[in-house]
Amino acid sequence: MAGDKASSCGALVLLNCFVSPFGNRVRIALKRKGLPYEEKSENLAAKSQLLLSSNPVHGGKVPVLLVGDKPVCESLVILEFIDEAFPGTGEQLLPAAPCARAHARFWASYVDTKLPGCAVRVWRSPKGASAVEEGKKDMVAVLKTLEAELGGKPYFAGDALGYVDVALVPFAPWFLTYERFGGFSVAAECPAIAAWAERCVKENELVATSLPEPEQVFQFVCAMRKAFGLD
């Protein structure tokens, strides 16, 4: 039973910030596996001792998954851990065949190495900085590449949500923020990506309940920008 395995592994606690795309990947993965967990909300401007001591190498970055008292850090590492530590529970996130697994890992890694870098330039630059336009151009190119990979499939994994979908969909609530600061429209530039994001939320309740509203993300970012004196 999911509950028994979880308690024999140690209670699961997720240290997260509700807007974090990385943390929300873990929410989705845990829910998909049917694993009970407790979430502790972190204020990234005033990190808890627990968070700082659980992820000292990365200065208390979220997410951290505590398994009993053992921390697992880095969202994609956590996703693979969830698959491997609870193999008989719920569905595996990664496919079974080595080639398909390599393909999924490649695209999740692509999201991590390409998307956050452009995103930060779009929403975290001082007002009017040239980095915003450059960031937007790069982001559109990245989204178009992802769109090509999605092709005509309903999900990156095929007929249903999989590893790459879970890696990317938590960025969807951030699209509105990127659009407002970058001055573009995801739906106009990458209609299939916009449709995929909607499908993820509409057809998968666990995704819908794991992600913040786009307006919440925007308000959060506006407050951050004010605190950093960027406007």
Binding site: C73, E74, L76, V77, I78, E80, F81, A85, R105
Partner: protein, 226 residues
Amino acid sequence: MAVEKNNNGLQLLGFWVSPFAQRCHIALAEKGLSYESLEQDLSNKSELLLRANPVHKKIPVLLHGGRPICESLVILQYLDEAFPEASALLPSDPGARAHARFWAGFVDTKVFECGVRLWKRKAGSEPQVQARKEMVEALRTLDAELGDKPFLAGEAFGFVDVAVVPFAAWLVSYGRLGEFDVEEVCPRLVAWAERCGERESVAKSIHPPEKVWEFVGFLKNKLGDK
């Protein structure tokens, strides 16, 4: 044997000094898998490379029966999964596997990326000085993680060691670019690097630090800030 005669259908597109390609050479050797090594000219990329990795156009690329697998850490995990009978790189315990993946990722994001800034940005400029601080911190962190263990993976050479050891040949270069004493910053890592160098898989895959330094000079000239 028929399987070995055709190199297990394995080809590796690499570049001699690339630590990422070297990870794959070491992994294949550790697993006792024969393969065809295809050195690439990165100043004039082949059709084969561009078709195999259209997204990044980078090496290493592993071709297995013609099918491409890209990204060194993805390749390493693929080798474990496609060749389960050959000695495993990753441990079997999920917690230990997570630990291994975490530290392999650390090297990519904290050491390699920082290293690029060290040679690329103008010596003494603000970003370069920042990169020096970050490199020292990253190496001290790795040194502490190694601790008193013989290998990063523990008692035996494993996945993290394969992921990190190609960067050992870059330590001299990092120290010179960053103006710090490598032996003082990460003494245990230096000893570990020597220990790893005694393994055949490592010895035949990585190049001497002075050769790397020469290459860094070439990179600085070609791509560094003027």
